[in-house]
Amino acid sequence: MATAEVSNTKTLKVKRFKPSEDPKSTFLTEEKGLWAWLTTVDHKKIGLMYLGSVTFFFLLGGILALLLRTELLTPAKTFIEADTYNQFFTLHGAIMVFFVLVPSIPAALGNFVLPMQLGAKDVAFPRLNLASFYIYVIGAIFTFIALANNGLDTGWTFYTPYSTDSSSSVIWVTLGVFILGFSSILTGTNFITTIHKMRAPGITWGKLPLNIWALYATSIIQVLATPVLAITLLLLTMERFLGIGIFDPAMGGDPVLFQHFFWFYSHPAVYIMIVPGFGIISEVITTFSKKHIFGYWAIALSSLAIAFIGFLVWGHHMFTSGQSAVATTVFSFLTFLVGIPTGIKILNWVATLYKGSIEMKTPMLYVFIFLFLFSIGGFTGIMLGSLAADIHLHDTYYVVAHFHYVMMGGTLIALLAGLHYWWPKMTGKMYNEFQAKIGAALIFIGFNMTFLPQFIMGSQGMPRRYYNYIDQFTIFHQTSTIGSYILGVGFLLIAFYLLRSLFSGEKAGSNPWGSRGLEWQATSPPDLHNFDHTPVIINGPYDYHKPMEEFQLGLADVHHNGHEPSHAAKAAAEEVTN
């Protein structure tokens, strides 16, 4: 037995709990069967259900992307009609943004990892968590029925007055997205509450893993920005159904107003998608360098700074829209300010590598890919934030390439890093490391081959959302299309070895990477209640200079079996000291 000081007033009796390498029961072996899964309030099962849904939608959006790229092999019609092409790019964008990127990291990986990193048994409101999942499913079904019915050809941005005039199912799809928004808001609320109230004894704000800081910043944006999307979509519905002129000039409205509303949500939404990725990078890079993160507070607070400034830059999507000159100038200026905290993070991560003990396992390989691709995304963002350059580049393939470097090179690569990092924890199985590295190489090559040519043709003037194009761009489009096929093969390979690992993968130990993170002190896969004790934290999550034993402490009093939230644990601690 040892004692540890967690505050000035209380002393807890703690002892070491070494995670079992051969757990008798896990969350996968308990509450089995379809019905148990569908009605579960376990954050881990809900996280996995999100992961399954997100993967399904990613497959759908990915197939659409490949069809689009195939159509663009030739300057005129290759194999689909213009209207079909327009519907496909709309669907690709809408699915990837609303059904994949927004829920991917927070709802899938976040749900699984967040309570474990806090040493909690579950999120603060487990039933609400399940409700969020079902709202997501209902929103998805609603949207897809509408799409099957009449298609959608407005682009994922729904710009008016095109979207109010269009004969496609704009209203039903927007209502689907409206429903989806509630899932986002509820998950955000749940996470914020959990982070404030469910931390295990000893986890002060300065000892929160950076993944939690990132999810915290994300949740704040979700709760504050998503309602604006709901308002916008409702106004659009009112205009279509009730004929109230808000955006349509024919009825006395203003189409640019729609763009303000839309981007007031959709720009912060970009940070909903990327900030959780930052969290994953911080976790993975420290684990595989066996080293303390460089500039903990700089990284933690820059997430919050991004969340805050991110609300004030929406107008940079509208430099050519005809918005006022003063607004344009201010938005350009603020856009550069949001670039700084992002740049700081990159440099902090690179500095973390300095004098580390670096092991190039697959998750770390993805971190390196992330740092390279996301930096390119960031620099081209600076280009687009600058007024004169943006006038030339706006709505060209340069912008398409830029946001794919940020969203795919950033968020999706971070997601892959996180997936490969936590896969042994989630499934208890190891994937084939060699195949995984081949997969990462295919993704890296395919990605750059797809999107680098788009920067060039974009600055030469190729506009986005074009079904036909003029001959001079053919070579860039064809290179890009071949690149996208390589990407497709890369993703198929990943799916193959991950699924295979479930059946024939080697058994993963509780902590295969030697991480100091709290989630690695549970068994692999974790127990239904994560830990069978109440963890007590005395070190920071990146204190690699401290021995592993100090990260395996829990309340010595097993009378309560650890199955109570932290405030009860504190009460129990007081009992012990009395």
């Binding site: 327009n86 460089f294 930096s375 620099f379 690699y544």
Partner: protein, 314 residues
């Protein structure tokens, strides 16, 4: 070294509007390239130099370094200030039309452009301008949002239905430049192209005079001209081929079958109704894609178009 990224841009044909843009883009590309190379080399160097040699490797405790962190926050901050100011200067120039600019009115519609000159001349999908003189385009849309983009001039401006927007340029050499629509506007968005054709001052005056006299002619001729200028031809063919809307060849007097209305034979009133209230009767096999021309065509214009349709026999 600025020439390193020249291959990315098309040849600049309006230095008055594009010179700043090109210089700024060159600067950002170079600086970004240097920093990116630095970061990438550092990453790879660290990964090799500090690769894990044993599972018991110990790493030093380095939590932060204020001096270093302030340095790498302040330097990028100064750099982006430069980029902001430079971009702002270039943009102000793009927004400040020279006083002696020659004005042309632009009307955008699904899916084409009409350019109107001071003497009443109108041309579709071609804007003829004199070289060496600033040109101001005053633009408005007839339906949804469009955007006027000339890569050679580094200019772009959205075209809105409820207000005028403008853009300017000055081409110094004679020649042609491509115009794209860069705001998504539906089925034929990618066919909504036009050309800027730059003449010498004298050739331009001659051209303009010739066009200016074209307003007269027979009703059939005026009708044919309107069909080109108002974008009818981007959906309706005159030669029997299929399009987004039904062909006009052999339309006159023909029995029309509709999705949800009793069939009628195509007479003046039917054609008039189809122009002013397109959704009233939708021809079988087609979708309602057309917007009303109410307010865009006068009664005389409609009569001229009908006169032209009568000439389109099978």
């Amino acid at each position: 070294m600025g020439s390193l990224f020249d291959f990315m841009l098309p040849e600049l044909k309006s230095p008055m509007t594009g010179a700043t843009t090109d210089a700024l883009m060159g600067f950002i590309h170079i600086v970004s390239f240097i920093i990116l190379a630095g970061v990438t080399i550092a990453m790879i160097y660290f990964a090799i130099k500090y690769r894990r040699r044993s599972e018991d490797d110990e790493t030093p405790l380095i939590t932060h370094n204020n001096k270093l962190e302030i340095t790498w926050s302040v330097i990028p901050l100064l750099l982006v200030f430069v980029v902001f100011g430079w971009g702002y200067k270039g943009w102000l120039n793009l927004k400040t039309v020279p006083d002696n600019a020659y004005e042309i009115h632009v009307s955008a519609y699904k899916w084409g452009w009409t350019f109107k000159y001071e003497n009443g001349a109108q041309v579709g999908n071609e804007v003829h301008v004199p070289a060496g003189r600033p040109i101001k385009l005053v633009m408005q849309s007839q339906d949804v949002l469009h955007s006027f983009f000339v890569p050679d001039y580094r200019i772009k401006q959205d075209v809105l239905p409820n207000r005028y927007t403008y853009v300017w340029f000055q081409a110094d050499e004679t020649g042609e430049s491509q115009v794209f629509c860069t705001e998504y506007c539906g089925t034929s968005h990618s066919n909504m192209l036009a050309k800027v054709i730059v003449h010498t001052e004298n050739d331009f005056e001659a051209w303009l005079e010739e066009q200016g006299t074209g307003g007269g002619g027979t009703p059939e001729e005026r009708g044919e001209q309107l069909v080109g200028l108002q974008g009818c031809a981007s959906c309706h063919s005159m030669d029997g081929s299929d399009g987004i809307g039904p062909t006009w060849q052999g339309l006159w007097g023909k029995e029309r079958n509709f999705e949800s209305a009793a069939s009628v034979s195509a007479d003046e009133n039917y054609i008039r109704e189809s122009i002013l209230n397109p959704s009233a009767k939708i021809v079988e096999g087609y979708q309602n894609q057309m917007v009303s021309y109410e307010g865009r065509l006068s009664d005389d214009d409609i009569s001229d178009i009908i006169a032209y349709i009568k000439t389109l026999e099978e």
